[in-house]
Symmetry: C2
């Protein structure tokens, strides 16, 4: 091979590598593990913390407007309790408790796998707050894997709200998650949410990136 | 299309479907979730249960000769304890404690991801038995995903001892595990072993099958 051909080969190879890197980073999504938590209705806040009580912000969450509250509650199941379960704010229309399958074993009440907000027919649970106790008759779920994204992200990834995709995670415990729900909103910031069981199964480090794959 | 061509098409299509089904079932592997457990050396049995003590069989495990013992121990970490940790028999050369990442958080001592038997440089832990306490200086691991198989299975799957493969699991929480270690022995029976975090992440049902995929 002469010098000119070699230079051409190097240039072409470099361009290929750069383009493949670009393509890869274009498909990357930060992953966050959600520990057990609870969303409360305004009525539930009243019951658990006292009439007219306002949740106090501990810190902002990645999704704009959402925050971890200073308040925690205790979940009481048939076989055990889970203490210091973080309340997320602001208050919502329906109370929803999100736990892992591991947590379900500890409580003695399994949580069905559901997309957030889809709580019809799910089991209830007893919630203990500092000012009162509340027994909800539905709302205990194990949240299905999902990706929050802005419409500009959806355009870039060429996916639609409600679509299911795969997300590949690297590392010694690498794996590819199937059935990952896409949730698109102008209010969302790009982030994949999984639960603690899923994070441990893939040994996800904080801030780790996953790669979105279309079916 | 005439009758003869139609008959031919039906026959060929049927054969294709049958062959693809056959291929699929040929690649299927039963999956078992391992809860936290401990393998003890003869010296460790002496120390924890008394000099000359013999482990009692509770039930046979899937791997020939291996059994769950009636005996349990307590693991004592810097931040917490895990009680009723099952002892597996028979006694081995080295004491090895296998826990999940979730268990590591509870103990306050993280377990590194290792293949079973590879315990050099791993952390120790304190083990409490009915007759004594033992502090091992290594042996606490989170066991890496692996498949036990007989050499006839290895031949059928066209894989070798020490090779890493992928295993696909179906279902609402379906996923594909990467880096699954193949362990071949004349003493092994075909079974994939994962820990409780991995089982929950994929919502594995007892006796569920996974599909082996070569890289």
């Amino acid at each position: 091979m002469n010098e000119k051909d070699l230079a051409k080969l190097i240039r072409e190879t470099t361009l290929k590598v750069l383009s493949s890197d670009q393509q890869k980073s274009d498909k990357e999504i930060p992953i966050a593990a959600s520990n057990r938590h609870i969303h409360l209705s305004a009525q539930a806040v009243d019951r658990l913390f006292g009439k007219g009580y306002q949740l106090q912000k501990l810190k902002d969450l990645s999704q704009p407007g959402q925050f971890a509250a200073k308040e925690t509650v205790t979940l009481i199941g048939p076989k055990g309790k889970l203490q210091k379960v973080r309340v997320l704010g602001p208050a919502r229309g329906d109370t929803q408790v999100e736990i892992s399958l591991t947590d379900g074993f500890a409580l003695g009440q399994a949580a069905p796998l559901r997309d957030s907000g889809d709580i019809e027919g799910t089991p209830g649970i007893t919630i203990q707050g500092p000012k009162g106790q509340l027994k909800i008759d539905k709302g205990l779920i194990c949240a299905a894997r999902h990706i929050h994204m802005h419409s500009t992200d959806a355009e870039r990834f060429q996916v639609e709200n409600g679509e299911r995709v795969q997300v590949k995670v690297s590392g010694d415990r690498g794996l590819t998650f199937d059935n990952v729900l896409i949730r698109v909103s102008e209010k969302y910031r790009l982030e994949m949410h999984i639960d603690i069981d899923e994070a441990n199964a893939a040994q996800i480090k904080n801030g780790q990136l996953g790669t979105l794959l279309k079916y």
